[in-house]
């Protein structure tokens, strides 16, 4: 097994493990008896592990979700489905490797599967743009989903991206349009769609595969409108405050279940999915199958309406009291006309200037 990437918050634990290892070695080499000491430390280690992983903070989950060895879309496809046939290209421009997709059988049932794909190593990551798609990636996904709709196959998507790729060529080819079109078209498909956030669900690039009848998340996955790093740099001009932003932004599976954004959470082994991919895939497979069975009972029209209502109800606001209204209107009448001539700036800059 390759050496595991250690996360900062796991350091006390790994230090303790190192200590135990040293002690064991010492005992072996010098023939001394540390059995009692080792037992005591191992007990402490176990206790520490439980404490550490039972109440993980949002920031800690974010680090687990970004773990280098965290299973990717292709890992889950291999572990849960059979007969996977990868299909390529958007028929317009290119084959974006940041998104994978194709046909597979799920317990014998033909399905279409699409997902963001991070790389396994640096070279793979460069080829796959670290899992951040260009428009051609979103358009490939759309093509495969349209195909699924035509041939009446359920669609399963895996979400795992920091966001759409921020590049000039992506903008030239219509990054906004590609994402927007996916949102609209996914809303109109008459087949079951289940979306699984397996790692990081960042921004519009994640949502472009996320308009499903059911959206479920792995226990340590995160999902947000902007990456905590991005939010920190805009709000506090300091990207290193990502951990603080992660807490404030309510990005964990538990938070999203409370907001009724997602329908279900899939348990991960202690320490994260990378500790036991097979176990995680089994948990996910079971839940997926359950949700799919429920959705397969619905007609195409019911599926579209079910999906519409799922997203229609999201949003929290209030209706102002009439007294507040009157006050606002009074002010409205006395208000001077709004002055023009503001500094033109890019949206992002302007946003940051305001916050």
């Amino acid at each position: 097994m390759p050496s595991e990437q250690k996360l900062p918050f796991e350091k006390p634990l790994s230090d303790l493990r190192d200590k135990i290892a040293t002690l064991k070695k010492l005992a072996e080499n010098n023939g001394m008896d540390f059995t009692e000491e080792i037992l005591r430390l191992e007990e402490k280690c176990k206790q520490m592990e439980e404490e550490l992983y039972s109440e993980m903070t949002a920031a800690q989950k974010m680090h687990v979700a970004r773990h280098h060895q965290r299973p990717t879309s292709l890992d889950f496809i291999q572990a849960m489905f059979t007969d996977f046939m990868e299909l390529h290209g958007d028929r317009l421009f290119a084959d974006d490797l940041a998104i994978v997709g194709g046909l597979a059988k799920f317990n014998g049932l033909p399905i279409t599967v699409v997902g963001h794909q991070r790389g396994k190593d640096t070279r793979d990551n460069i080829a796959r743009f670290f899992g951040s798609p260009h428009p051609e990636g979103f358009r490939k996904a759309l093509r495969l989903m349209q195909q699924a709709n035509k041939f009446n196959r359920p669609i399963i998507t895996f979400i795992d991206t920091k966001g759409a790729y921020p590049g000039n060529t992506a903008e030239e080819r219509g990054q906004s349009e590609a994402i927007a079109r996916n949102l609209r078209e996914m809303a109109g498909f008459g087949v079951p769609i289940i979306c699984v956030v397996i790692g990081e669900g960042g921004s519009g690039g994640a949502l472009a595969l996320g308009v499903g009848n059911r959206v479920i998340m792995l226990e340590n996955a995160i999902y947000s409108a902007i990456s905590p790093n991005g939010a920190a740099s805009i709000l506090w001009k300091d990207a290193s405050k990502a951990d603080v932003a992660a807490e404030a932004m309510k990005i964990t599976a538990k938070d999203l279940l409370e907001f009724e954004i997602i329908e279900d959470i899939v348990a991960e082994p202690q320490g994260g999915a990378h500790r036991d991919v097979t176990f995680t895939a089994e948990q996910l497979k079971e839940k997926l199958w359950l949700h799919l069975q429920q959705l397969l009972q619905l007609t195409p029209e019911e599926l579209i309406e079910d999906r519409y209502q799922k997203f229609r109800k999201i949003g929290e606001f209030r209706i102002a009291e009439p007294a507040e209204q009157a006050a606002a209107e009074l002010q409205h009448e006395n208000a001077p006309s709004v002055e023009g001539g503001q500094e033109p700036a890019s949206g992002i800059e302007a946003e940051s200037a305001q916050v």
Binding site: M249, E316, P344
Partner: protein
């Protein structure tokens, strides 16, 4: 004098530059707001003239940003709007640090706005229409729950009343203080458009300066016709983020309306003075066929 002296540099006395040493000019007494300096070309003009010119610089054609009500005044017949959901206001569902205070600031700054979008019903060139007009003044036009809900309701009303839909967009993107709730407004509005447009509804989208991020990547890009004002910044990712990613400087015209048109992302770039006429013409192209068949 020798010949080489001809080419030698003349010596001048140098005066240190910098504002510190610049002589203070007495400040002239100009009433606040009487004059306006164009942020693009520096041209100074009377504010009244500028208003008469629809807030377009008479010298360089720069389109100033408009508040929602200014645009409604310019676009709708008699400037009249029957407003929907005027009483819908934001709450702080995530209890996000600083959000409540920031909302309060926005209300104080914009006494005539309750949120970053005004929606309602009016007429353009005699055609009844449902309109949504965003305002960059309010919270950078960012889309939170209220913006998403008001736009979705407007789409549903246009659908129910079988009216065309017009949205003037301007936004910095998602309102991150509402995090996932704001992201989901992209899906909500797009799903509503799926129904509306699927049933034959007409949607005209106009990008105004600037339209970025989550608004650009949802309803604003989904018009049956996508228009933009000249020079409007339209894109998904911000210039700075892209420059940091690709480690290159981007051209000045990057993500402008003209740039987007050149790359096939827009149907038309329309000058503000022609906007109402163009919209009227577009609406006129969609007169229901039955009306004409009766005319035989």
């Amino acid at each position: 004098m020798q010949i080489k002296d001809l080419f030698s540099k003349k010596k001048y006395a140098t005066i240190p530059s910098g504002s510190a040493s610049a002589p203070e000019r007495p400040k002239r007494d100009i009433p606040e707001g009487l004059m306006n300096k164009c942020s693009k070309c520096g041209n100074i003009q009377y504010s009244k003239e500028l208003d008469k010119n629809l807030k377009v610089c008479s010298s360089c054609g720069h389109h100033y940003r408009l508040s929602a009500w200014e645009r409604i005044g310019m676009t709708l017949d008699d400037g009249r709007l029957h407003e929907y959901d005027a009483d819908m206001v934001s709450i702080d569902p995530l209890e996000f640090p600083g959000y409540a205070g920031k909302l309060k600031q926005q209300y104080e700054k914009n006494p005539n706005l309750n949120e970053a979008v005004v929606t309602g019903e009016g007429m353009i060139g005699g055609f009844p229409i449902v309109v949504c007009v965003m305002s960059f003044d309010f919270f950078s036009g960012s889309m939170g729950s209220v913006v998403g809900e008001k736009i979705t309701r407007a789409i549903e009303t246009a659908h129910a009343k079988q009216l065309p839909l017009l949205i003037f967009s301007t936004s910095g993107g998602a309102r991150m203080q509402e995090s996932i709730l704001s992201l989901m407004q992209m899906a909500k509005t797009s799903a509503a458009l799926s129904k509306f447009q699927g049933a034959g509804g007409l949607f005209i989208s106009v990008f105004t300066d600037p339209t970025m991020g989550g608004v650009s990547a949802s309803f604003a890009s989904l018009g049956d016709y996508n228009l933009a004002e000249p020079g409007a910044l339209v894109g998904f990712a911000g210039r700075i983020v892209i420059e940091q990613t690709i480690r290159q400087k981007l051209p000045d015209n990057f993500q402008t309306a003209e740039f987007n048109m050149q790359h096939g992302q827009l149907d038309m770039v329309v000058h503000r003075k022609d906007m109402k006429h163009t919209l009227t013409k577009l609406l006129d192209m969609h007169i229901v066929r039955e009306d004409l068949s009766h005319a035989e």
